[in-house]
Symmetry: C2
Subunit: 416 residues, 2 copies
């Protein structure tokens, strides 16, 4: 007997979170065992509010599936809702189960990061414990690539490709001037430096590259940084530095809080202001060396630059959606789709289902042996890991010279 499917998205945007969604929908639409493919708007929070659409009907052609696949950020909308423990809020679990039962949902897919994997695990366990046959599968994503167990996570490859590509371009911009200057680029990553490591990749092109790259895995030493810049300025006109937003001093304070804890930036409203890490370090260089400085914050641009997607990343994200659906139909639950790298040359991965508990709320960091001795740059181990993930690009469908993204009707809720 056919069961329906419900899929939703949660957490922060990535370029390929819709590629995974497209993979889930595509596989469901093609599976005999699946009936209607519902989409939950704004994650579990929207599901609890009954904001559920007939997603399958809205992307019923291969062309629409492809458009969805190449659209960045959560087409279904997101939430940051942290599902409470069942003991603390049994009524929430019961409500979700009632909604799913009413809609005859047998397959539940949740696409997101650590928290979302946690949500999928909690719900799957609850369903199993209550004797329900609803299966819950987690579909991982994160630009930070800090999910445990899996080799890498969809979303990382495209963000890394954008950062590496953009650094190549920014280096050209900086190097075309004929005066001494320091440019500091700030990259996302509070605790994990995988994204910032991508900024070091131009070095493996045999061309100009950022001379200094700092990740949050290592303590940031201001004196060592300034000494490094001073040394570089003896022989080079333009210095490019890449930093994670999350780098910290030895005392545990973020670098963007400033070196002197008694001083703090004050904005025009008189409030203490945390400036960006990059702009702070650029300012320190300006004070110390009296030269022109600039800073760049990639911000949201690095997680939504679909026009610079990695083909490897998009295709894997889509395939992971398919794998999730196959697993659910085969009876798996409380699992997430894990990627294991089989070889780098040729690049090959295997996908498997792993107990969601192994990834939920766990984080991973850049391995210590990816850094050089001074911990101010990355070595070829980082390149071996990153380069296979940023290969190729799928051009976006274009209209009026701009990308033609999917347009979903997110207010046409199903009645139940």
């Amino acid at each position: 007997m056919k069961k329906n499917a419900l899929v939703a998205q949660s957490g922060g945007p990535t370029v390929v979170i819709n590629a995974s969604l497209a993979g889930v929908v595509d596989a469901c639409l093609k599976a005999e065992e699946v009936g209607v493919v519902y989409g939950g708007c704004n994650g579990i929070e929207g599901i609890l509010n009954g904001q559920i659409i007939d997603l399958g009907a809205q992307v019923a052609t291969d062309e629409l599936i492809n458009t969805l696949k190449l659209t960045p950020s959560m087409a279904l909308g997101s939430c940051r809702y942290k599902l409470p423990k069942e003991a603390d809020a049994p009524e929430v679990y019961e409500k979700i189960r009632n909604i799913l039962d009413t809609l005859n949902v047998g397959y539940f897919f949740y696409i997101g990061g650590n928290d979302s994997m946690d949500t999928a695990a909690k719900l799957g366990e609850y369903f199993a414990r209550k004797g329900s046959d609803i299966r819950a599968i987690g579909v991982p994503k994160t630009i930070d690539d800090d999910l445990a167990v899996t080799d890498h996570t969809p979303g990382y490859g495209s963000a890394a490709k954008y950062i590496a590509t953009s650094m190549m371009e920014v280096l050209r911009d900086v190097r075309s001037s004929n005066f001494q200057t320091v440019l500091v680029a700030e990259i996302m990553g509070r605790d994990a430096g995988f994204l910032t490591a991508a900024a070091a990749m131009p070095r493996f092109m045999g061309d100009v590259a950022p001379q200094l790259v700092y990740c949050p895995e290592n303590v940031f030493d201001m004196q060592a940084f300034l000494a490094d810049v001073e040394e570089l300025l003896k022989t080079e006109k333009q210095i490019v530095v890449a930093v994670s937003e999350g780098i910290k001093f030895a005392d545990g304070r973020y670098v963007c809080e400033g070196e002197d804890p008694t001083k703090a930036e004050v904005d025009s409203f008189g409030h203490k202001q945390l400036s960006g890490t990059a702009s702070y370090l650029a300012q320190v260089c300006k004070e110390k060396f009296g030269i022109r400085v600039r800073s760049i914050e990639y911000g949201a641009l690095q997680r939504c630059a679909a026009h610079c997607n990695s083909k490897v990343d998009v295709d894997e994200a889509f395939e992971i959606g398919h794998v999730a659906v196959k697993a659910a139909i085969a009876g798996e639950t409380c699992k997430f789709v894990c990627v294991t790298r089989v070889s780098n040359d040729p690049y090959k991965v295997e996908m498997s289902l792993i107990d969601t508990k192994l990834v939920a709320n766990e984080a991973k960091e850049v391995p210590a042996d990816w850094f050089n001795e001074k911990k101010n740059n990355l070595n070829e181990k980082a390149a071996e890991y990153i380069l296979p993930l940023i290969q190729g690009n799928i051009p976006l469908p274009e209209k009026n010279g701009m990308p033609d993204f999917i347009k979903l009707n997110l207010t046409d809720y199903v009645q139940f």
Copy 2:
């Protein structure tokens, strides 16, 4: 008898300034009348220092010309040198002429913005007045598109395409959240709003678009802005605002200087700090509405994003290089290559040679009738102008998942 050519670049980077360079070199290499194609490193300043390379020899294949064509920022390096008037520094003019004569240069091409056109004009007039047959042709570029006389300038189309594309993506990022928020994006343009106008283009996709767009051509009224945001927040969760860095209050002060001239941001060094326009406006919204805010500064990214080039822009920039060479060979001097738009549908331009004096040091602004009545957005007149310029994309040659840009040897100077 063959004469040699010398080409150099000046001013700020664009995505296609090397496409024009490639066009000049390509046309020179193919012209019977031209011998060696020299490149001046770091503009007229480098030429004065004898930093001249045999550029033609370094890009002698069609493949290398194509790689140069798709490499962003000045491959020859730039300068910000303002050529003095001849009366003030006749020795500078004499030195340049001596260098060119020694190298048997008969064709001089200078690629740049207003100042560079001014330099080309001054040199061309000097050569003519001294009875020299060296011809000086200006090849225009600017991302700001603020050059007088010409319909548009190479570099603008690609920057506009990046901004429009990126806004489409950022809108997806912002719209995927489920809380009220204001995002303010800051775009280059001190006096002209052509680039910022490109941020309004998503509106012509029938999809989400920035609700408010402010250009420096209109006085910025903080109370009107806050009233507009307040009104929008009644019906919409996420507000996206695009602003030119150069927007000003009625009293002529930049918005980034803050509304109250007696207050000023102070950084951790105790210095008065000009924060960005976007971050300032975001902060004002946070104070006023108590909601989450974000800001994005496109900065250098918008002028070097070669991976998001406009095919129309790249091809025109290359062709303008060809037109400049043909004109010089035909005996023209003190001219620059002007683009006239013949029709929009199909898009068609004509190129002609115009007296450089007409463009040097003149600037143009966004026409008043491109704005809506409230001056807080752009209308279809802007779209008619911009959309034809952002069509198509030429994929970059890729290596290791990153763009493979031209590598010139900029220290192998010719001896003279």
